[in-house]
Each structure stands twice: as C-alpha cells, then as structure tokens.
C-alpha cells in the first residue's frame, strides 16, 4: 500500500441552472479513484456552492496512482428522479509522483461536459503521500520524469542519454462496442475519455519501467499519440528518449555511474557493415502475408527515399584515427540498443558530430480487429519493421544513430499508413554512456571539431556514396567535405553559422486515387507513395533554391490518406549554412526548341525566377562573404594509398572550381518543362508569396538569424476545412485548391497578428486530414514572438562572437568546454558590452510588462474608487450612523470583493521549449489531455465554426487551469497532437476529439529575476482566492 491520495472539494462557482423552477442548483460532488467513490453533501440552492468537504482519502498502489486519473463528477441532486450530471473533471495526478515536481494540485478547474462544454468551475485540492517502496519487482515507475520538450530541459544537465524507448497499448474503442447502441452519446464519450486516460497512464508507467531498466531517470521528447482504428480498435503508442538528468542547481551530486551490463559488448569486435552503393528500398517486394491465425494481415512496405542532398564523403582525414576510434566507441555504445534512435531535436553542444541526412520509411497496412488487447504483437511488429528499415537507411549513410526521430500514422477506413522519419547522424559517445571514455581522446577529438561546421561534414564514405552526390570542401574550415544541400529533421544546432535569416518552406501535393477496397486500395496507395515522396522532395529542393538557401531543418513530411486522394505536406525551415556552398540557380529548359514564342516564354520565366532568387536573397539578408578561388582550392588533397580515392579527390576539386562560378550554368538546377504539369509546377513555385514585411516564419524552435526576442508571445491554433467541388477533379485543380488553402491560411495569420510586427511565427506546425470525401482539413498551431527590430540589424557579427553569445545563454553546459572557451574569449573583448546590451534590452521589455501589471489593477482601481466614493458619501450624509453595527457589516461586505476579485492568473502557452525573456525555474510534470465534444444542436451553437472555436477555447482553458493548479504559469512544448473533427450537418450534429500535451513549468521573467532572486514565484500565479464570491 504505497500511497495515500487525499482530495478535498472546496467550492464551486458559475454552475449552470439545473432547476428551472428556482433558477438554482442543488449540487454535490462525487470523487472517484479506481473503484472507490466518495460524495460530498448536497449544497442546496446555489450556483456558487461552498462544500468545504473533509479530506477524502484513497489508499492505493502506486501502479494505480500512475494509471488511474482522479475523477470528479459534479451532479445536481434530485429527490424524485435520477441525479443529473453537470460535468466532470479528470485530474492526472502523475505530477505529484515525482519528488521535484508539484507537491499539491490546488485550484479552479472547469467542469466539463462532453455535450455542453464547460459548465462552471470547481475548486479542488489534491495531495499524495508516497511511502517508500521496498518491493523490487514492482510494476510502477513512480519518479521517472517525463518531458515533451525535445531537448534537454532548461534546468537540467544530461549525464547520460540512454536512447530510444517505445511502447504501445491497444484496446477496443468504446464507440464501437455493442453497448454503444443503447447508451447515450455522453456515456459513450465519457467511456472513451476515461479509457484513453487510463491507457495513457498505463503507457507512461510501462515506458517508465523501461527507463528504470536502462537506469535512466527521465524521458525527454516524450511523444504519445493515439490511433483511432475504428472497428479494429484503439491504439495508444508513445516514443521518447531515456536520459539520466541531473538538476543543475544541485551541485554535481549524482548517483554513481551505473555499471552498465553493456561493458562486455563494448569490447566485442566492431564490424562496420559495408555500405552498399545506392540506397533505396524500391526493390522491397509487396508481400501479402497472411498474419497470425484467422486474421488477414496485409502489409506493403513502401519504397522510401533518403534525403541528403548530394555528397561524397571522406571518412578519414587528419582526424582519421581518432574519428575511427570515436566511431568505434559510439558504434559499440549504440549497438547494444535495438534502435539507436533519439526523439530529441536539439542537443547539448558537441553531441551531434555529423549529420547524414533525412531517413524515412513508410508502410501501408490493412487494419484488422485486435483480438487480444493484452498482446498487441501485430502493431508492435509493424513498427519494429519500420524502425528496422530506418536503422538500415541510417547505416547506409554511414551513421550509427537517428536523431529528431518521430513516428506517425494516417488512417482511412481499414487502410493505415505508418510513417517514421529522422535524421541519420554520428553522435559523440560521451553522452551515451557513463563517463569511462578516456579523457585524452575526448579532448583531442574536440579540438579537431571545427566550430559551427562539424555537423555538416559528411559521415559517409566518399567512395561508397549511397547516392549520386556533389561534394565540396567545407566553406568554413576547408578541411572536410560537405554536401551541397543538407536536409534534416532536427533544429538548427546552436553553434551553426548561418548567413541571413531563415524561412518556412512548404511542399504541397495532392494525388487522386481511385476508390477501392482492402488490398486493392492498399496496393494503389503504396504504388502512389514513392511518386509523392519524389515530387515532395523535388518541390522542396526547387523552393529552397528559389530562396537562395542550402539547408532545411525541422523537415516534417506528412502523407495523409483519404477515400479518393492522397495529400502530402512537407514543412521545413530553410537556411543558408555558411559551411555549405552557395546554391546554384534554377534553370529552365524547354523541350520543344523550334518554337519561337515558346522560347520567349521560357526566357521570360527564367528571368522571373532569377529575379525572385535575387529578391529573396535580399529579403532574407543572404549575402555570403565572397570567397576567392585560391582559398577554396587551397587544401591540397593528401596523398592516398588507394587510387580510387585520388580520383574522387580530383573530381571533387573540379567541382569546387565550377562551383565558384556560383551562378554558372553547369551546377544550376535544371527544370525541364516538357508538359503542362511541369509548367504548373514552375508557376506554383512563383505563386508562393513571401510574408509581409516585418513578419518571418519558421517551423523550428527559433528563427535562424534572429536572437533578440522580446517577451510578447501569442500561441494560437487555426483550423480550416474546405469542401472541394466534386465535379471533374483533376490533380492540378486539387493541387491548386490545396496550395491556395495553405497560402490563404498563412495570409490570414499574418493579417491577424499584424499588431505584433516585427514578429516571427515560430514552430509553425501544419496538420492535414481528410475527414470526408470532399473535405480537406488543415490545422495550424504556432506561436508568434515579437523581436526588437533595431537590434536585429546589428547582428552581423563574426561567428565566434555569435557562438559565444549563444553559448552564454546555455552557460551551464558551457562549462564542459573550458579549454575552448578561454582561448577564444580572451581576445574578443567586445563580448561583455554586447551582453550588457542584451540585458538592457530585456529590462526594456520589462517596462511594458509593468505597465500591463498596472493595467491589470484597473478594475481593482474602479472598485477601490467606488469604495472611497461610497465612504465619502456616507460620511457627508449620515455621519451619525457610522457607528451602527449595520454600517460596519456593510463595510466589511464591501471590502471583501476586491480580494476575491484577483483576476485569473495568466498562463502562457507555447510550442517552444522556452519562453523568451524568461527563465524556467521548475518543471511540474507533463500535461497530456484528451477531450471529446459532441453536439446535437450544431446550428444553435454557431455552426461548425462556432462549435469548434468554442471547443478549442475550452481545451486551452482546461490546459491553463491544470497548469495553474499545479502552481505553474506556462506550458512549454505544447502540441495539439490530434484534432479529429466530424460533422453531420443534416442531422445537426458534430463531434470533435482533441489530444494535447506539453510541459507545465514555472518561469520567472529575467527582469524580475534580478529583483526577487530568492522569492518563490509560485505564490503569485496560484489562484489562491478561495474567499467568498461577490454578494449576489
């Protein structure tokens, strides 16, 4: 009996009127955990009941503590008939189970009903007393911390990054059970909400166990999703990266490095798998495997592309032996793991050694009913297959790990596309295992790693290139080879040198598909997929070139399957990496040369493209320093033993000279216009309009090239659904519709947020779904952050300074590289003033905040004023009565409201892992919430827009309330993982499911940090007002 859960129901407010006769409500509360239920007294005839209950105590296993949510139901008492439910609150008590997170959950929670939405609020206090668990074979994993953030959380240090953890659980979907035919929609929705909440808890507990097995203490980059497979069931799955984290404030006291059982394995002779030439799995056969038992199991493995841009690598140069050693070490460290994957997208400095390129795999599956929920082998096997494929793709790129790894599904009827993607990379072994790596080796390795370009250097063997490629010497260190274009799924490394600013680049694509059943359908889809992948890739490449940039970060490709079409949407942030060569232009070539007007048209088009490139270069401030030919050519290839190597060296040096002509014809990207399709493509390239001036956008955490954020942030979700006219749909028309939809959506966002200029839309996350035949739904979540324009202009600094400045923000981690820092920072004295400048900026930004605070008391002011006026008037009119008890009572009554009226505490929400101008001082636990909302009076609720608008606002409100109750004032790494919307306008019905998650945190403004350094900030954000309501 290792835990005692204590719950107290304090009060309710703004309850709905349940009794029409009296216009009041007789409310009471049921508190349920597991199979135990407690009830409060009925508070008669009030919309603001004060229950002030005793402490309800539940004695429970910690396994249950992890799995079960606390269920609070508010009901209206009815003497003669059944009590009516007003609504429910589910509280995930997981945050109370870690030692460092929240200690109490206390606050106002919206009372939620799946049919009516939010109906008033309830004030609840929850505590947990945990006893020490002596059972070694326990099933719980209390104490393992979970973070949605895909980088090492700000107030922690990564001691060891253990690696990939995954788990999935399956169940029947209550919506499809037989009982659903006889129960109310409300009961069905609640069953679903409860089930998913339970499954999430179970999943988290199981992942926690895996982490403990690996001797980690935390999961970072935790991503949990659910697949609504309809008839065949409900899958909740999660992936994450197990880590051992060390709280930064505590002085290096940490559990001794665990003697990993992998020691022996490390000594095992390393067998570097020979990489085999061109890598793609086009040859993978379509196999129709009859699955276990009676179930028909159809599976198609889809040809997958590896995106890297071009490249031919040199595995070893000066650093050869060390590098080999390094590789050997990491290899062995990683080999013990089944999947050397990391869900992180940003890393401690020095972690990422080289980046190979994007690897992805997809497979098309036919769903069948899950027969035994306790053994989800089929789904496990599917994912294992895909992960295996990713792993082999990474190997082919000479990489032993995959970073920025993510998995997703798209389901339509019984067909499901499973997708996985990540970035192949070579990692520094130091973080992957306990600190037994020889220090001297490490040191020398680090000296060899050039600042800001190391990760661009190719990890694969130049001789055995996995694909036809195009290599040059690095434009930064001129020692190693780099590809001419780099695609990745991770964030831009903090030490990377970027020229100019970045921008959001999207490739959008639709393909019509015939309606078909089962296997035929799956086959049709898998036949289409490679073409889509290819086209998406081409579009990305073209758009990148058009922007005059050479690298993509945060690439995310989503393929969505619908009844009669497939949609592809790729988003990434384009940048110009200083280490990579200048991209060539785009050249158009016509196929029918003898037509004069056609020629003219082509040349006109060419001119337009060239103009656009020039314009973009100016817009994004891309002006790389001119590099003279000699310098580039200077590194003399070392003599090699093998002639093949020499040959390739000479080849690549040829390329270097060619490349220097940057806009020369040869290296330019040639677009052939041979049919109308291609023409359309070129046109669509040119129709993408840049954001209005003062706006930037990216889908990464921060915008490359902007680093002077001010404190104003606005997170938002925007949803659009369009109906296609079903008449003669063609691929072109479809593409245009989809393109317009996305572009118009972006335009609307820019317009809506115009008051924030200059600002940047960060972490722009598009999700496409096809809820019905002719409907396309696009959901966007992003955050707009303002920045200081004046300072932005001053940021043309040398990269050393820049990297120093960046490093200073992560100052703690910086200590790990004392040598480098000292040698660099000594000569560069302009740094300290620059820092001062930054500080002054932050204090400047503090001023409006203070003003806002003043405004916040505006309403208070009214009240105070009202009071003084009142007092005054009493004094003048009835001086005598001042002493009467009546008068005094009245006085007390009057002075009460201002304190009860302390306005609701502000909770910030952001998809980023940080809050500009503020420091996160505490992580309170993850927020992972699932809601269903249904209506049978769609028109009355303002149609589909009104319905969804209200629902999303309610979801935000519930997230904020939970964070505030934990004592937090922000959610970071917020993500809306699912927004499934279904409508039936004929029946006046609609239903929507939303799943969101994030990390609840406490942050302190940097400006405040100086003033109140020791004071705990939690006090001010807690809605502590339990005092009486305004007299009504």
């Amino acid at each position: 009996m290792p835990g005692k859960l204590k719950v107290k129901i304090v009060a309710g407010r703004h309850l709905p009127v349940m009794d029409r006769a009296s216009d009041l409500t007789d409310a009471f509360v049921e508190v349920k955990f597991g199979n135990t239920t407690f009830k409060t007294d009925v508070y008669l005839k009030s919309l603001n009941p004060q229950w002030n209950s005793e402490w309800f105590k539940f004695e429970v296993d910690d396994e249950d503590l992890q799995d079960e949510p606390l269920q609070i139901t508010v009901l209206d008492h009815d003497t003669y008939s059944a009590n009516d439910a007003i609504g429910k609150v589910y509280i995930d008590i997981d945050p109370l189970l870690y030692s460092e997170a929240a200690t109490v959950i206390s606050g106002w929670f919206p009372i939620y009903d799946t049919i009516h939405g939010i109906r008033g609020e309830i004030n609840v206090v929850v505590k947990v007393d945990l006893f020490n668990d002596l059972n070694r074979f326990r099933q719980s994993s209390c104490g393992v911390k979970f973070f949605c953030t895909t980088s090492i959380p700000k107030c922690y240090r990564a001691v060891i990054i253990h690696g990939f953890v995954e788990e999935l659980v399956v169940n029947e979907d209550p919506e499809y059970q037989w009982i659903d035919r006889i129960r109310t929609p409300r009961a069905s929705n609640e069953a679903r909400q409860r089930l998913i909440s339970l499954m999430s808890g179970e999943l988290q507990r199981k992942i926690g166990l895996k982490v403990l097995e690996m001797r980690g203490n935390a999961v970072v980059g935790y991503l949990q999703c659910f697949d609504l497979e309809g008839e065949s069931g409900l899958v909740v799955r999660a992936i994450g990266t197990a880590c051992t984290l060390d709280k930064l404030s505590s002085p290096a006291a940490f559990l001794p490095a665990c003697n990993s059982p992998s020691k022996e394995m490390k000594e095992s002779p390393l067998v570097h798998p020979p990489s085999h030439g061109c890598r793609s799995t086009h040859n993978s056969p379509i196999h129709t495997a009859t699955g276990s038992r009676l179930t028909q199991n159809f599976s198609v493995s889809v040809p997958t592309l590896i995106y890297t841009g071009m490249g031919s690598g040199s595995a070893g140069k000066e650093g050869g032996p060390f590098k080999a050693l390094l590789r050997q070490q990491t290899q062995s460290a990683l080999e013990q793991r089944e999947f050397p994957f990391f869900t992180l997208t940003a890393f401690p400095p020095g972690f990422l050694v080289h980046v190979g390129g994007v690897v992805s795999a997809r497979s098309v599956k036919l769903l069948d009913r899950i027969h035994n929920p306790d053994e989800p082998e089929t789904r496990d096997a599917w994912w294992a297959e895909i992960r295996q494929e990713i792993k082999s793709h990474a190997k082919a790129l000479g990489c032993h790990a995959v970073v920025g790894y993510s998995e997703s599904t798209s389901i339509c009827e019984e067909v499901c596309i499973l997708s996985a993607s990540g970035t192949a990379a070579v990692l520094n072994p130091r973080f992957l295992q306990d600190g037994t790596v020889e220090g001297c080796l490490e040191q020398r390795l680090e000296e060899n790693l050039p600042v800001g370009c190391g990760f661009c250097h190719i990890p694969y063997d130049e001789l055995n290139m996995p694909f036809p490629a195009h290599l040059t010497y690095c434009y930064n260190c001129r020692k190693q080879k780099v590809p001419d274009v780099l695609f990745t799924t991770v964030d831009l490394p903090t030490d990377a040198t970027v020229i100019g600013k970045g921008c959001l680049i999207q490739a959008r694509l639709c393909r019509l598909k015939k309606k078909a059943q089962a296997e035929a359908n799956a086959t049709a889809i898998s036949n289409l997929l490679p073409f889509m992948e290819y086209e998406v890739h081409t579009q990305l490449m073209n758009k990148l070139k058009l922007k005059g940039m050479n690298a993509l970060f945060g690439l995310r490709i989503q393929i969505t399957v619908g009844e009669n079409m497939l949609m592809g949407l790729a988003s990434a942030t384009g940048v110009y990496l200083a280490a990579l060569p200048t991209p060539g232009g785009i050249q158009i070539a016509g196929k029918t040369p003898n037509d004069g007007s056609y020629e003219q048209h082509i040349s006109h088009m060419q001119k337009k493209i060239n103009d656009t490139i020039a314009k973009n270069k100016e817009l994004y401030e891309i002006n790389p320093p001119e590099i003279s030919e000699e310098i580039i050519g200077s590194p003399i290839p070392e003599p090699r033993q093998r002639s093949r190597l020499l040959r390739s060296q000479s080849e690549s040096s040829d390329e270097v000279t060619e490349l220097d002509l940057s806009h020369g014809k040869k290296d330019a990207f040639v677009l052939e216009i041979d049919d109308t399709d291609a023409m359309e493509d070129v046109h669509s390239l040119l129709t993408d309009v840049p954001p209005p001036s003062g706006f930037y956008s990216c889908n990464t955490e921060i915008m490359p090239g902007i680093n002077n954020w001010t404190s104003e942030i606005q997170m938002f979700t925007s949803v659009r659904v369009i109906r296609l006219s079903s008449l003669n749909l063609t691929n072109q028309a479809l593409n245009k519709n989809f393109n317009d939809l996305c572009e118009n959506l972006l335009k609307s966002l820019y317009f809506k947020l115009r008051s924030m200029i200059p600002c940047c839309l960060c972490h722009v996350n598009f999700t496409v779904s096809l809820p019905e035949d002719e409907l396309i739904q696009v959901t966007v979540t992003a955050v707009a952050i303002t920045f200081d324009k004046n300072q932005a202009l001053q940021t043309t600094k040398t990269h050393v300074e820049k990297s120093l400045q960046r490093a200073s923000t992560d100052n703690e981690e910086l200590l790990q590289f004392p040598l480098e820092l000292c040698s660099d920072s000594l000569p560069s004295h302009p740094f300290p003033p620059a820092k001062e400048h930054l500080e002054s900026a932050s204090s400047n930004s503090g001023i409006p905040a203070a003003q806002r605070d003043r405004c916040s008391s505006w309403i208070e002011l009214i009240k105070l004023k009202a009071q003084t006026i009142r007092r005054g008037s009493i004094k003048t009119t009835v001086t005598v009565e001042k002493a009467s008890p009546m008068g005094e009572g009245n006085f007390r009554n009057r002075s009460a409201p201002p304190c009860a009226n302390s306005t609701v505490g502000v909770v910030k929400m952001t998809p980023l892992s940080f809050i500009p101008g503020a420091k996160i001082t505490k992580y309170l636990g993850i927020i992972n919430m699932f809601f269903i909302r249904e209506t049978t009076s769609l028109r009355e609720e303002g149609g589909v827009s009104g319905f969804l608008h209200a629902f999303i606002a309610e979801v935000f409100a519930m997230v904020r309330a939970h964070v505030a109750a934990l004592g937090g004032n922000a959610v970071v790494s917020y993500i809306m993982k699912q927004c499934v919307f279904m409508e039936n306008p004929n029946k006046n019905q609609a239903q929507c499911l939303i799943n969101v998650s994030g990390d609840a945190v406490v942050f302190v403004r940097e400006s405040e940090l100086e003033v109140v350094s020791t004071q705990q900030p939690t006090a001010n954000c807690q809605p502590s007002c339990t005092g009486g309501e305004v007299t009504t």
Binding site: W108, K752, E881, N901
Partner: protein, 357 residues
C-alpha cells in the same frame, strides 16, 4: 472550393478594437467587411478581401461568445475560457455598455418594458442607429435597471460593483436608472433642446438631495426613489406664494439686493411673482406622480421659457436664483427653511443647467 470551417483561437484572445466597434454598432459581417475595406486597411496591410472576410467573421464569433459574459461583467473577470489581459477586459466592458446620445435621449425616462422595446424600430429609423445596436443599448439599460433597482446602497456604487464600469459611465447609468424609475418626461418638443448630459446632471443632484438615500443610506431603493415624505412636505412651501405679504416681502428683499446688479432688473421685477409662483407650485404639485413626471416640462415652461423670452443672460439667472433662495432665510414668518434649502438647492443647480438655448 468553399470554406466550410475557418477559425482562429489564440491563447490570449485577440480583440480588434475597430471590429469590436463595428460589431457594437450592429453591422452585419458583410457590412463590416465593406466598411473595413473603405477604411483602406487592404492597402495598408496588403491583405485580400477574403482574408478580411475571414478575420471579421472570426472576431464576430468571438464577440458573440463573449457577449454572454458581458451581460455580467464580473463573470468576464472570473471565467477561464478566454484569457484576456485586464486592460482589454475593461475596454470590452466599457465599450459594450457605452451608448449613443441620440438613442438615450429617445429612451430616457421611458419605462424599460417590452412596449418600449417594440418602439425600437422607430427609434432606429429616426436616429439612424442600427436596430441591433438599439437593442443592445436598450437591453443594457434594462439589465442594469433590474440588477440595481431594489438594491440598498449608493446607486453609482452598485452599478460600478456589478458592472465594473468606469466612474463616468456608472454615473450616466445611475441617471438612466433614476429617470426610468421616476419616468420623467423628456421627450416633449420643448425639451428637445436638452442633452442627455443636462438630464444626467439634474439626476445626480436629485439623487444626492431628494432621494431616500440622502437621509438614510441603509434603505432599499435609496437612490432610485424620491423621498415621499419630502415631497409631501413640499406642500408647506406653498405659503410663500399663497401668503401675499410673504410674497411681497420676498420680492422686495430680492429686488433690494439685486438692484443695479442685474441687466434685466426691470423684467425680473415685473416677472417676480410669476416666476416665484411657478417654482413654488412645481414643488407643491410633486405629491402626484403625474406631476413628478412632468417636472422638467414644468421647469422649462414656468421658468426657463419666460426668462429666455426676456433674454436673461445666464449670469443674471444665477444671481437671481441665488438671491431668490437666500432671501427666504430672512422671511421671519416662514418656518420651513431646511425644506426650502433641500428643494431650492437642487432646483437652482438644475435650472442653471437647463437654462441654455
């Protein structure tokens, strides 16, 4: 391609002041869009009409959802659904409860009932204010009236407590409630020259001095209902004009004091008895509800108009009224000095405010 659904939800609710104004003014989405287009916003921002349409729809939807909360502003402060900075909350409330001068002049003093609501169509046509906006303003008046009608304590205070309005707006509402409760006639043709501000000024004076609250701050309706006892007592003032000696004495006191100081002395002297009779008779009649309603009509007929026809300058009116009220203290035969002061103090303030073109 048609847009089925199009929404934008921010963690902090975006409020566009211009669109809010258009919404409050009762324009339909399409009218609002065309008005926004005319304002030149497209040129400024480079947006398209479609973007503007979507933006306007979105704001309208938000306002529609907020409206329920605006009906009880403290709810807006406590609710969790919309995260709105307090300064914006204050703006939303203040603007929502703001009203048009033209509208309030039509409704002021009328019973806030269904019957009046039916007349909103005519008011809308007459004033050019959209019917929607008229309804909002009317409902606001009625809502405030219902809430504070039977409440004890200061009227302005109560309004501020329950509707979180600024001081100024709360005072205006106090006047509206006071007028509605006492049903003062303000719509007659001869009262057309008066502004809402004039009436509000008088209302405030009357609330301060003529209501129950002026003597006892703990009774219900203290600021809304006139002090009945006081109105009854006012009959006593009648002797000022009924008693011929008293009237003559009063006249001579005033004339002596003002001789040489008034530009319109002779007119005053000639009219004194008429004016005094007028003012005192108004007081004496206030026991009847019907006459209470006609208070302003009577004041204008009996005092403002006669003076105005003789072209009294405002300053002369002031001097006269001061002297007229003060001289009563020297009338030995008159015992109701306090009553006179309570009546005339307020009336003097009102008359001075009402005396203009």
């Amino acid at each position: 391609m048609t847009s089925e659904l199009d929404i934008f939800v921010g963690n902090t609710t975006l409020i566009d002041e211009d669109v809010y104004r258009l919404w409050l003014d009762g324009y339909s989405v399409s009218d609002a869009v065309s008005l926004r287009v005319r304002s030149g916003i497209l040129e400024q921002t480079g947006a398209t009409a479609a973007v503007l349409q979507s933006d306007t729809m979105d704001h309208y939807r938000t306002f529609h959802m907020l409206e329920r909360l605006l009906h009880a502003p403290p709810k807006l402060l406590h609710q969790l659904i919309f995260q709105i900075p307090p300064s914006r909350q204050a703006l939303l409330i203040e603007r929502y409860y703001a009203f048009d001068e033209a509208f309030v002049r039509e409704v002021l003093g009328k019973k806030l009932s269904k019957g009046t609501k039916k007349d909103l169509d005519d008011i809308s046509t007459k004033t050019g204010i959209t019917l929607k906006s008229c309804r909002r303003q009317f409902d606001n008046f009625k809502r405030v009236f219902k809430v504070v009608e039977e409440m004890r304590g200061s009227l302005v205070d109560n309004i501020q407590q329950h509707f979180l309005l600024s001081d100024r707006l709360a005072r205006d509402y106090a006047a509206i409630v006071f007028f509605a409760n006492n049903r003062f006639e303000t719509g007659k043709k001869k009262l057309q020259y008066l502004s809402f501000g004039d009436f509000a000024f008088c209302a405030e004076l009357m609330i301060q001095n003529w209501t129950l609250g002026a003597v006892d701050s703990q009774v219900a309706d203290m600021d809304v209902d006139l002090d009945k006892e006081f109105l009854q007592d006012l009959k006593e003032l009648k002797m000022l004009v009924a008693d011929k000696d008293l009237l003559d004495l009063h006249k001579s006191l005033v004339c002596t004091a003002l001789r040489g100081k008034l530009g319109v002395f002779s007119e005053m002297e000639a009219n004194f008895k008429n004016l005094s009779r007028g003012l005192v008779n108004v007081a004496a009649k206030l026991t009847h509800n019907k006459d209470v309603r006609d208070l302003f009509v009577d004041l204008v007929e009996k005092f403002v108009e006669p003076c105005r026809s003789d072209h009294w300058p405002l300053n002369d009116v002031r001097l006269f009224l001061n002297q007229y009220s003060a001289s009563v203290h020297s009338l030995d035969g008159f015992r109701h000095q306090a009553l006179w002061d309570r009546y005339m103090g307020t009336l003097r303030g009102c008359l001075l405010r009402l005396y203009h073109d």
